[in-house]
């Protein structure tokens, strides 16, 4: 019984982190699916989302707003708007001018953008940790007082539900809406889509905006979950989400969701049963294993050479 509770606790923790990774991973995978580049500034977009949410929460609290759902929703909307505009601007400034060049050039441009944004936040907000107010407190406890207690906090439930809503909305958008249909067409054959009169620049901007908005959601959620943020907040999370995207098969949206969850669970299992210091070893080791045996990732489709 004890063991089962302990295991469930690790599973819950893993799924919480994993679903946030999945939200960020979608940004990587959508951009890769459409223009075949890795947007290394995506982690910074997520970090900026977290900062914006924190600023909005602080501001609203200072103004005397007390109703929690209102504060959260306003913070979420602000974070999404700021991150999306940032994602859009980054694409316009740093990627569009070098699109179609050698693959390395947009990559370097992305790394440059990432360093720029990180340092910009350093300057604007300082390099210290900033505490995130604990807005959603409490939770359910399982198990007896004198032994291991499993807890499922309201914060974790919020993360699950928000992620679920975002994923459902995204899936519906991609499969049903006209813009989603155009996104799929552009990701399969950009030249042909353009020839058929789809404004591919608009679609590319849309993917950056959507990816950034989801990253902002993750920024708010993980900021509250961890309780503090700093300008390097996006670096590791971005790296993990990128790993998740590759794990699931970069370019595939269900792959990013699956990859995020697998990565989150394997990390928390390692911290729970081995040691917290080994969690990155295990998650990146897992990545190496999968790339060795299935180079396209779990749900990625092998690229067929056109004859």
């Amino acid at each position: 019984m004890q063991d089962l509770l302990y295991f469930s606790q690790q599973l819950i923790n893993g799924l919480t982190i994993g679903s946030a990774y999945a939200l960020i991973a979608i940004g990587y995978t959508m951009v890769y699916g459409i223009i075949g580049m890795i947007n290394f500034a995506h982690g910074e977009i997520y970090m900026i989302g977290a900062y914006t949410a924190l600023i909005a929460i602080t501001g609203l609290t200072a103004l005397g707003a007390a109703w929690l759902p209102l504060i959260l929703i306003v913070a979420l909307v602000c974070a999404m708007i700021v991150s999306s505009s940032m994602g859009w601007a980054v694409e316009r400034v740093a990627y569009r001018p070098v699109r179609g060049r050698h693959r390395l050039i947009p990559l370097i441009s992305a790394i440059g953008m990432s360093i720029f944004l990180q340092n910009y936040v350093h300057l604007a907000q300082g390099s210290r940790n900033i505490g995130f107010p604990d807005l959603i407190e409490g939770g359910f406890q399982f198990g007896s007082d004198d032994a291991f207690q499993m807890s499922l906090s309201y914060m974790q439930i919020t993360i699950f539900i928000t992620t679920l809503i975002c994923m459902t909305a995204l899936s519906l958008f991609i499969s049903r809406s006209r813009t989603g249909r155009a996104c799929r067409a552009v990701s399969q054959d950009l030249g042909m889509a353009s020839l058929l009169g789809i404004d591919t620049n608009r679609i590319i901007s849309a993917t950056f905006i959507i990816g950034a908005a989801l990253a902002a959601v993750a920024g708010l959620l993980l900021g509250m979950y961890y309780g503090s943020i700093d300008p390097l907040f996006g670096f590791i999370a971005g790296l993990k989400a990128f790993t998740a995207a590759v794990l699931g098969g970069i370019g595939s949206i269900p792959g990013a969701m699956l990859g995020g969850l697998i990565l989150g669970v394997s990390e928390s299992m390692t911290s729970g049963y081995l040691s917290g210091e080994y969690k990155d070893v295990v998650s990146f080791g897992l990545l190496i294993l999968i790339l060795l045996f299935k180079p396209t990732g779990l749900l990625g489709k092998p690229e067929v050479e056109k004859i």
Binding site: R178, T179, R181, L196
Partner: protein, 251 residues
């Protein structure tokens, strides 16, 4: 409606197309023929905006279009197919036709979320048009199949249907009969003629299948080594000495 004047295209030291001139009138099927490597597809690529020509003019309905990006040219009503089928293979057959009507649709996201009458009406129209063309090319029963799973001949026809839903004025077909069996070629033949007769579309055709070319073309342009060799009706071309030489070698 289409005039190509002294079109030249240079790749480094190679003059792939040299002073090619041709024109297409309304409701006319014009073929471009020539030996492999003669520069036919290069002419197409210049016309459809894939390449920026090094010299010459391309006038579509009196407006200069040379060097314009491909999506602008396709918006004017000139659409093309490729030697290799380029469908969205992981999308269903009907989605291929819907996505081609993207710019005719209301893509306002708010309208989509609210499901405004205008949005629904246009989506319905797009579906109707897609269904009409699927019926027309005989693919209606396969509408929900992934395009990549169709047989080759069906993919070719779907590609033409996908061009037609965009309501073009001029259709450019690059070797549409390549890889088709004689029965399929015959069907294609009838389809192209009906595009002209029933839908008032002009067609520019690159093709190696001489029986198809001779059957359906109103006029033929022959290109050899990037230079125009002859032009005229199928009958004139058949009897042109230069053409016979280029195709059969000097006797």
């Amino acid at each position: 409606m289409l005039e190509v004047q002294n079109l030249s295209m240079r790749f480094g030291g190679l003059l792939a197309v040299d002073q090619v001139t041709l024109d297409v009138q309304e409701r006319e099927i014009v073929s471009i023929i020539g030996p492999n490597g003669a520069g036919k597809t290069t002419v197409f690529n210049c016309m459809s905006g894939f390449y920026k020509p090094s010299g010459g003019k391309i006038l579509f309905e009196g407006k200069e279009v040379q060097g314009k990006p491909d999506h602008k040219i396709s918006k004017l009503g000139m659409v093309r197919t490729f030697q290799h089928v380029r469908l969205f293979t992981q999308m269903s057959v009907v989605e291929n036709l819907l996505v081609a009507q993207h710019r005719h649709l209301n893509t306002n996201m708010l309208a989509g979320l609210l499901g405004t009458p205008n949005y629904k009406e246009r989506e319905q129209k797009a579906l109707d048009r897609a269904a009409y063309w699927l019926e027309r090319v005989g693919l209606l029963e396969l509408a929900n199949r992934d395009a990549g799973n169709l047989a080759y001949g069906q993919q070719r026809r779907l590609e033409i249907a996908r061009c037609m839903v965009t309501e073009p004025k001029l259709l450019m077909l690059d070797e549409p009969a390549a890889g088709l069996n004689p029965a399929e070629t015959k069907e294609l033949n009838q389809l192209i003629i009906s595009l002209k007769e029933d839908y008032n579309v002009s067609v520019v055709l690159i093709e190696h299948d001489m029986s198809l070319v001779m059957d359906i073309s109103d006029r033929i342009n022959v290109i050899n080594q990037g230079r125009p060799l002859a032009s005229g009706t199928p009958e004139e071309i058949r009897q042109n000495d230069d053409v016979i030489k280029a195709y059969l070698g000097e006797a």
